[in-house]
């Protein structure tokens, strides 16, 4: 009798292992870990605090729908690298903030806080085009020294990779995300001055600096 029960236990155990293995076979994990070049251009005359929250640094997009396999896509590390590199080159000085709004250092003109609003992707079999595509949308917030909102704007980024270039779905998607992140960096860099509130903020800072300079020389 004990042997029979042991036999049933073994069958149950193997069924469980088989089920878990099958489920694991249908789930995909992608960890994007890109390095990005520093932009070429003149920095804005601002001292900027950059606050990347823990959610942002460890961002993982998870999707488990009936019509799709399970995907867990971690872009946190790559987007942290991107924003630190791009924002680090955009301004005269940048300070990476471990917390916000408390303990804000003196002399910071602006604090920039990015947030991921949305990440979407399509696979070649869904679009019938041999391309993996990724869209990422960021909500950008800029605050002044007092914590008041100066500007809010949205960055949209797009990346694609043809299937022929890569070995696996995960590698293809990781590459498309890296392309999208490069695009986000390009949009952040080239679009910053086009946000009217930020344009006015930079202009007022430049005016203040130009008025200060003659006095400094006296």
């Amino acid at each position: 009798m004990n042997r029979l029960l042991n036999g049933f236990g073994a069958i149950r155990y193997f069924t469980l292992v088989a089920t878990v293995s099958l489920l694991a076979a249908c789930s995909h994990t992608v960890s994007v870990d890109g390095e990005f070049p520093a932009p070429v251009g003149s920095p804005h005359p601002l001292t900027v605090g950059v606050y990347l929250s823990d959610d942002f640094r460890q961002f993982t997009y998870s999707e488990n729908r009936d019509d799709r396999e399970e995907w867990n896509i971690n872009t946190g590390r790559a987007q942290k690298n991107l924003f630190e590199t791009v924002l680090g080159s955009m301004f005269k000085e940048t300070v990476n903030l471990a917390q916000y709004p408390s303990n804000l250092p003196q002399g910071v003109d602006l604090v920039i806080v990015p947030e991921v609003r949305e990440l979407q992707f399509t696979m070649p079999r869904e679009t019938r085009v041999n391309i993996f595509e990724v869209w990422i949308k960021y909500d950008m917030h800029a605050y002044n020294q007092q914590g008041d909102s100066v500007a809010e704007w949205v960055i949209t980024a797009y990346g694609k990779t043809p299937t022929a270039f890569l070995k696996s779905q995960e590698a293809a998607l990781a590459q498309a995300i890296n392309v999208a992140l490069r695009d986000a960096g390009a949009t952040l860099y080239t679009g910053f001055e086009r946000v009217p509130e930020l344009q006015a903020f930079i202009a007022s800072k430049e005016r203040a600096l130009s008025m200060k300079q003659p006095g400094d020389n006296e």
Partner: protein, 224 residues
């Protein structure tokens, strides 16, 4: 045993041989090549289209084939240049027309870096290689006596590329080169599949690189 060794020799020979490819190169030239000592050429792929992407390996192939410092052609690798000029040559920001270069050159740091690289020509390559049709079938089976494949497969590939040559210093379009290549690959399978691959993209790359060398160098250097 003799039969087997003969069979494998035939298979290796077949693997080394390839399907036929035809390449047609057209050229439209507005000025003669002026590449001088110390000048560099950048070869970049267009990536703005939503349904295809100029293959990075094609750009790499043209760059490596064209790069010949002893003949006076110094090619900057695409990724190195795009990284060095970030974010001004990304799909979203790259200049689409020669006139857009003016705006880019208004940024002093960009101008300085381009001058540091000694860029004389920017070559934009746009296009892709696609499988246009395929036919046939191959079946493989495995049994106690062994395994084997039987059948026949064939597929056609077409490359269509256009290279626009921009003279960066004179800010003008120097000319265009187009490369159209097509070829048919075959795969007969008698026990072992024997691929006879037409290297369509590779032949388009070599044809374009040879034409670009002639295009970019001054007439007397090109004939060397």
């Amino acid at each position: 045993m003799k039969f087997l060794s003969a069979f494998f020799s035939v298979s290796v020979l077949a693997l080394l041989s390839s399907g036929c490819t035809t390449v047609v190169i057209d050229e439209y030239r507005r000025s003669t090549g002026e590449l001088a000592l110390g000048d560099s050429v950048v070869i970049l792929g267009r990536r703005h289209s939503s349904d295809y992407e100029t293959e990075p390996d094609l750009i790499d192939c043209v760059g490596k084939t064209l790069h010949n410092p002893s003949a006076g052609v110094n090619v900057i690798p695409e990724q190195q240049f795009v990284d060095a000029m970030y974010p001004w040559f990304e799909p979203r920001t790259a200049p689409m027309h020669i006139k857009s270069l003016d705006k880019l050159m208004d940024i002093p740091d960009v101008r300085d870096r381009m001058e540091k690289y000694g860029v004389k020509y920017i070559v934009w390559i746009d296009g892709s290689t696609e499988t246009t049709s395929s036919a046939g079938s191959i079946g493989c089976s495995i049994g106690t006596a062994g395994a084997g494949c039987f059948g026949f497969g064939t597929w056609d590939k077409e490359s269509d590329y256009e290279a626009s040559v921009w003279d960066f210093r004179d800010q003008e379009l120097s000319g265009k080169i187009s490369a159209d290549a097509q070829g048919t690959s075959y795969m007969p399978a008698i026990v072992v599949p024997i691929p006879l691959i037409a290297r369509v993209q590779n032949n388009a790359c070599k044809g374009m690189a040879a034409q670009l060398q002639e295009f970019l160098l001054p007439p007397q250097s090109a004939s060397r």
